[in-house]
């Protein structure tokens, strides 16, 4: 009975084997005692209280650092709040959202940069997602191969760049992609190709950032790896019996079996692109260089808020970001049913 409060998921709370054993220990007379009901109730209450007590840090944190700021941010998005003059804040209705909408639609009076920042972000996602997902999957299959000697060493090495602080890895790539002194162009020159000025070219900056993004495949690779290891080998055996080649095995077994994992990685990367910041800030010199090509959405938000102190408008942008992230998540989860393979219903 005492134990039951620590075994909430076992069906012993009321009349399970636990109370039966405690009853048998004290003999059958225990049933006739007047006490047990209220004491059992107070134990359940004490368990409730303990539970709330232990999760209370999160409840406080949620209210103070999530819930209240969300409400405040929503309210702020209807104002012209400027932290340099908080007293002069005025309620301006839907003006911020109108500015945003006009900007997106290219109408006069709108935010002149928002449309481009969304385009920069979406185009980058369209490049980054297939490239990094494909590379991560290829690497995962490679380091999962039984034909690879020293698999753990390779796994560690492919994961390792994740561990380099983003600022440091960005600086490494800035050097590597330097038009004249970087090795990338020097190697291309050795092959007879004149490389572009990667990071200072409007055309090449997104491919550059994609190349840099390859260093971030670590988690994706491990998730793919776990997915690959979860595929029953009988499926491949069955495939081989049917005479399927490696490509057919990949298409008919690996891809469908990996689809939940693939799906998860797509969501995470997509959301990550809309929150892409550090690399854009450093490569764009905090200005979106070259010519606004690194003016990613999240960077635009930062600039409105902390360079121009248009925090009312930045709040509206933050809510647009939230709406985008939420919509993408919902769309992907909805569409998942049509192409994501899930084994059974239970886990």
């Amino acid at each position: 009975m005492v134990a039951s409060r620590f075994f909430p998921d076992t069906p012993t709370q009321d009349e399970g084997p636990m109370s039966a054993t405690s009853g048998s220990a004290t003999g059958p007379t225990v049933v006739e005692l007047p006490g047990p009901r209220p004491s059992r109730f107070s134990l359940a209450r004490r368990e409730n209280l303990s539970g709330y007590l232990y999760i209370s840090p999160w409840i406080v944190g949620f209210l103070v650092f999530t819930f209240a700021p969300m409400i405040a941010s929503l309210l702020m998005s209807f104002t012209d709040f400027d932290p340099r003059a908080p007293g002069a804040t005025a309620f301006i209705g839907l003006d911020n959202y109108e500015r945003m909408a006009r900007g997106i639609l290219g109408q006069p009076g709108g935010d002149p940069l928002i449309r481009d920042s969304l385009l920069v972000t979406v185009r980058f996602a369209a490049l980054l997602i297939p490239v990094t997902l494909g590379f991560a999957l290829a690497v995962a299959m490679l380091v999962n191969s039984t034909l690879l000697a020293g698999r753990n060493v390779f796994r560690t090495l492919f994961y390792m760049p994740m561990q380099i602080p983003i600022v440091a890895s960005t600086l490494i790539w800035i050097g590597m992609l330097n038009a004249s002194t970087g090795w990338f162009n020097q190697l291309l020159a050795a092959a007879g190709i004149t490389g572009p000025d990667w990071l200072n070219s409007v055309t090449w900056v997104a491919p550059s950032l994609t190349i840099m993004g390859l260093w971030g495949i670590g988690n994706m690779m491990l998730i793919f790896l776990a997915g690959l290891q979860g595929i029953p080998s009988e499926l491949y055996d069955a495939c081989k019996v049917d005479g399927a080649g490696r490509l057919a095995q990949f298409r008919n077994v690996t891809l469908p079996m990996l689809s939940p994992v693939l799906f998860y990685n797509v969501i995470i990367t997509l959301i990550g692109t809309f929150q892409y910041f550090t690399q854009a800030y450093i490569i764009g010199n905090g200005r979106g260089d070259p010519a606004g090509a690194t003016n990613f959405f999240n960077f635009h938000l930062y600039r409105e808020g902390w360079a121009y102190f248009q925090m009312g408008y930045a709040s509206a942008l933050a809510w647009l970001l939230f709406a985008i992230v939420l919509t993408l998540t919902v769309i992907l989860f909805r569409s998942a049913g049509s192409w994501v393979y899930e084994a059974g219903g239970d886990r």
């Binding site: 539970g51 709330y52 232990y54 690879l148 002194t181 808020g305 939230f322």
Partner: protein, 361 residues
């Protein structure tokens, strides 16, 4: 059925154990070599970083300079120092000679291998020749970057911000995860779902009011906004620990309870020791996440550079010294060395944690 399978009806000689082992050996070598080549290309920028950081700036643009850190070679002759060059000789060979008397259209050289043979006259412009190089490490870049960054100060700031934040994040996550995994209370599942849903909430949504409040409280320019919020249980950490706690057999709690332990005692003496691996993983994650964090220090410490961590300071350094790639690469090494070394030491705990979260999520 397997009898009908073509490979099984092949003659034994084609499938003898030796043959099979040979074929397997070839396949393993091929795949491993391929993987080695890919990983080398993948990590090539690291070699670039290391070599560049040990180069003298002049080597970057010098003609014919090698890829490794090197200095132009010189030759000591009769008390003088003379630079070495690769000199194409009239007979078609190329010799490494010391430039003894430079001239516009013709120069006088000495062969360092045989100085006693006297001088060699040569027609041509020495300025277009490639100098001879010898391997040499310049460590000045590190000294310059160290001093310009005030590196010890940055390291201290980063360690304090990441360290205190980690202590808060891990203790709070342990408590909250324990609450969610071991107690039954009304609304538990709903609250847990709420906790998980905060993962998709972009930081920017809550950031502006939080910034405004911290700024009114006078916390901007201090470490407090970068540390205090982590003392309230982050969703990722709680989730990872809760999943792990659920795998700890409840019989262990029960045994402790029979010995008279209360919930807190059970947490400290049963759950925490059992979940050490997950706790280490969460600590490492949070520590390096905080080490890496850029956005928050950028907005909160803009006005107080003495409190800055490595991330923003190195980014600013990059802006100032953008024309000095050797210094930039030295700074990059200084910023990454600790996380990378710790990663290699604690690699197993790390990977386990990642797979655990990644797959369960």
């Amino acid at each position: 059925m397997s009898v009908l399978n073509p490979p099984m009806v092949r003659p034994m000689s084609a499938n003898s154990p030796l043959r099979r082992r040979m074929r397997r050996f070839t396949a393993v070598s091929g795949v491993t070599l391929l993987a080695f080549m890919i990983v080398s290309a993948f990590l090539l920028p690291l070699l670039f970083m290391v070599t560049t950081s040990f180069k003298d700036k002049s080597q970057l643009t010098a003609l014919g300079a090698p890829w490794y850190p090197a200095a132009p070679e010189t030759f000591e002759y009769e008390g003088g120092t003379y630079p070495l060059y690769q000199v194409p000789m009239p007979d078609g060979t190329t010799r490494t000679l010391a430039l003894y008397q430079p001239g516009r259209e013709s120069s006088v050289w000495i062969d360092p291998a045989a100085p006693e043979a006297g001088t060699i006259d040569w027609e041509g412009r020495w300025r277009v020749l490639a100098p001879g190089y010898r391997f040499e490490l310049y460590t000045d870049n590190f000294v310059t970057a160290w001093n310009a960054l005030n590196f010890p100060r940055l390291l201290f700031n980063t360690l304090m911000i990441a360290g205190i934040g980690t202590i808060g994040a891990v203790t709070s996550a342990i408590c909250v995860a324990y609450g969610f995994s071991r107690f039954r209370f009304p609304g538990r599942n709903g609250l847990f779902l709420l906790l998980l849903s905060t993962i998709i909430l972009p930081m920017q949504v809550t950031l502006i009011p939080t910034y405004a409040v911290f700024s009114m409280m006078g916390w901007t320019g201090t470490w407090l906004p970068l540390i205090v919020p982590y003392f309230f249980g982050n969703a990722y950490n709680v989730f990872l620990l809760r999943q792990y706690f659920l795998t700890i057999p409840r019989e262990l709690d029960e045994a402790a309870m029979i010995d008279g332990a209360g919930p807190f005692r059970i947490l400290v003496s049963v759950i925490v020791p059992q979940a050490k691996a997950a706790i280490v993983a969460v600590s490492l994650f949070h520590f390096f996440w905080a080490w890496n964090e850029f956005y928050l220090p950028l907005i909160y410490l803009q006005g107080n550079q003495s409190a800055e961590p490595l991330s923003t300071a190195i980014a600013r350094f990059n802006g100032v010294y953008s024309q000095e790639p050797t210094l930039i690469q030295a700074a990059a090494i200084m910023a990454m060395i600790i996380p990378v070394v710790v990663f290699f030491i604690a690699q197993r705990a790390f990977m386990r944690g990642i797979v655990f979260t990644g797959v369960e999520k």
